[in-house]
Amino acid sequence: MVSKRKGDDTEEMTSRERKKLKVAGARTIAVQPPVSASGSGTVQSSGNAFAGPSSTTVRFDSMQGLPASIDVEMFTEARAYEIDAMQKAIKTAGESVTHRVWQTLPRHLRRRAASHDVRRVPLRLRDKARAEMVPVTRRILKRGRSKQGKTKQVSRTESLLRRQRDKTWLETHIWHAKRMKMENMWGYRLAVTPTEKSFRPSHRASMHGSILHDSSYHSLIELKGPENILRNVLDLCCDPQCTGMKRSMTGARVLETDLYKSGSYPFDLIAPVTIMWRPLPVGNTSAPANASQAKGSSKRRRKRKNDAPVNAAPQSPTRVIWVRSHPAVFDDIFAALQGSASLVLEAEKQRHKDVYAEVEIVDLRGSVNAFEIMGPKASQVIKGALSVVADDDRQEFKKFWPSLTDLQTTASLPRGIVIGMKVLDPRLKFPPKNAKLRMDGQHPATPAMTFPAAILAQSEIWDEEQRSALKKPTYKKKDLDARRSKNLVPGTPLSPLRQDDRIPLLLIQRSLESPSSTHGIHGWMVVVPAGWGMPFLPSLVHTGTRVGGQRERGSQAFEAGTAYFPRDFPCTEFYDKHWDERAVKEKAKWNRTPPAKRANFKKLGTRSPWRADWEVVLGLPVASEVDENLVPAQREPQDAMEVDKAPTVRPWLLRGPEVPTILAKATQNFNHGAGLLAEINRLRTKRGMDVLDASYRPEDLLKGALVMVRLKMVSRGAPNDLAIIYRIDDDEARKIIKEKGKIREGADSNEPAEAAPPQTSIIGYVTTGNMSLSRGEGFAIGAIPVSVLLELRQQAQRYGFLARGKPQLMWL
């Protein structure tokens, strides 16, 4: 083939020929050259120079006068050479043609462009890669000037900013975009899942290693005000069942709870939130808090001040609270907090007419970055990547930091503990090394117990001025690399200078766990100021921490057995939005599939294949029904109409740490509804809210209540999302129990008839269902009405499955 370009002619052979030669060379087997005929005399006679025949009927001619041992040596030497040659041939043939150089790299270092661009291959392999490449394509990559003129040049910054106009990029966006599949969610561009096949490795990392997730997109709201007022504000909004309010007020722990619309517990659940209090400065217990002066408003701040006339020194100190929540429900949460604050301030004004109280609510989205590192190795990763600033005097911190090395899992720490610290720029110490767990008996078996303390949680990250001062790191990577090149011994970490930044951060213990279960996933959340996402990320990831996206985060919650917002929260607004979008996608997929390959919902009689219709499950009238009583052209105020109409039953989700005790107390009362109502009212009054409106009947309260359940499979199989939960009656239950006993003995059992149960026995839906990797069997999280749960409990009691007051079996 005549080559087109002049330069190619000078090469002796094209790459194809070179490759052929290489292959041929790899596949030949070396042959030992025979000894020349004129060798040493005695060795030559009668075939002694050869390897000899293989059969044992060879007669050693003892007339030769040679001892048998020398013959063996000669014979076997030739054979040994042949063995060697065969082995080498196998190895080279295997290695040469089947692998390109970059195929020897581990999967996370391979790059698609490596096939045509040698610069994407690590340095040590570049020569080999260059030799393997087809030479013509070497010229394709011209990173020079474009053909268009200078005026049309768009700088890289500009083009990147242009792409961000309708969505927000996280600081670590580019790093994620190269390695993960990205999607537009809730106004942000977020990573869904890594591009490599990593479902199981990510699960293994959360169980045995460490996995990181950039959760900087979660929204942050700051509340500032007198302590008692803030306490009342939170009491109105939060779940009354949460017990950690007092503990978290010192600031040593965070509180994870649900937020409702102010004053309407148990209805109008919005979302789960995390609440952090700023610890009071030590030695400054009752500082008289003056009214906070108005700060210069930045464009992104939304302030809400509610002044009362006249001034007086308030009795309780000014505190700051951070409320961290899902980005999609930010507006609802902001509105709820505002409403709550106005109610509380009104009440205060009524009570103390001369007190000047003010609550400031600030939107702090984008001012901090957060990384969630889950898994047992998280502590070692953090210890290895972060270097603490030397001038930290706190005794507790000095005890805590070394104990991180030996921490095998953060489950040993108190839940939600907060630790504030200041670290040096992590890039100075790059590349980091994990702290090593000491497995010998030299250190005490139980590490020093860390107790939550306000002084431990002190951090300057709460200070707005500090954060804004740190918004731009002083040194760029380029400058640090220049400093590094000046090192005398290459590879020494950089020593910190006075001008280097010292970054305050928060370490928060984070756990995904369900009570009475061993499948918890524990780890840390690292909160750093804005502008420092990219410097921290490579240090945290370098030692082998996996990085996960939304899918990994959701499957962590599923494996732990906890509900994940928004998937598993049936009565919230965002749940409806989320599942509506999902229903649209699933329906479209179903329509696309040919009829022979998809489930025939008409034949199966599925009532609602793509949405969980909770209204029908609860027995409520469906929203779209038109009420006959209502005359369309009526112009009367609606109140008169509503008195005549039966009050609608509102669905709500019974959720919280005290659910089992609430249900137990409710069942003690003969009328379950009244018992439930009494419990709810008790909780409401505990937090200073009025009891529920008397017009709301207890039966309706019970009717509309849903409760989250966890489902384990009896035999094989795994439920999917939106699987239907049916109720079985007594004799079927008896049959299944008998069969389950039989299966245990290993006997063959006939499969029960596969007919679909009637639609009336639908009691609920599964919100998340899958094969659970940590349990090794199918597992699901779903919801059923509370009334049905109580009936099932009675049924289980009849069959003696009730142990310690809790039903052991629930089945589909």
């Binding site: 596949r27 087997i29 042959v31 030992q32 025979p34 005929a37 030559q44 009668s46 075939g47 120079a49 050869f50 390897a51 000899g52 025949p53 293989s54 059969s55 044992t56 009927t57 060879v58 007669r59 050693f60 001892p67 048998a68 041992s69 013959d71 063996v72 040596e73 014979f75 076997t76 030739a78 054979r79 040994a80 050479y81 042949e82 063995i83 060697d84 065969m86 082995q87 041939a89 196998i90 190895k91 043939a93 295997g94």
Partner: protein
């Protein structure tokens, strides 16, 4: 998808001169064999025993890949559908260039890798057999102990 399937024969040419020890026949040492010589002898054998049709069937794919004159091991490649013809021809081969030989087919396999592995196994067996025939095995320690140990490990690594 059409794949060309082959059969690889591992053949050992047993030297009759030492077996027979009759001085009339020439031993292999005087006329060292060659891959080409073997190929020619095979071709003649096929034509004699199976005719021209036989050679037409087998000829395209027949190939002597490896031959070692020291150990008399030969690796021959044939297409899978005609390998019995070639096998038969190998068995019926009596002499190569007026040198009496007895071909012995040690192994047949579909890939050359397994043929090579079986050649290695064959050689190791031979070495083991020779070593057992030593009169003074207890005293005599040759360097092959370490070599065999090492090569065992390497071969185990190659086996997938």
């Amino acid at each position: 998808m059409v794949r060309f399937k082959n059969r690889w024969l591992l053949v050992e040419f047993v030297d009759t001169s030492t077996v027979d020890a009759s001085a009339e026949k020439e031993s292999l040492s005087t006329r060292p064999l060659d891959g080409r010589l073997i190929y020619n002898a095979l071709r003649d054998s096929v034509v004699t025993n199976f005719g021209d049709t036989g050679w037409g069937a087998v000829g395209m794919s027949l190939n002597v890949k490896y031959f070692s004159p020291l150990t008399n091991l030969c690796i021959i490649r044939v297409a899978r559908d005609q390998h019995r013809i070639a096998w038969g021809a190998v068995t019926l081969l009596t002499s190569i260039h007026d040198v009496r030989v007895i071909p012995r087919v040690v192994h047949v396999s579909g890939t050359i890798k397994h043929t090579q592995l079986s050649a290695i196994a064959h050689n190791r067996e031979v070495i083991a057999r020779f070593r057992t025939k030593l009169k003074n095995t207890a005293f005599h320690h040759d360097s092959y102990d370490d070599y065999l140990a090492r090569s065992t490990r390497e071969i185990e690594a190659l086996h997938d």
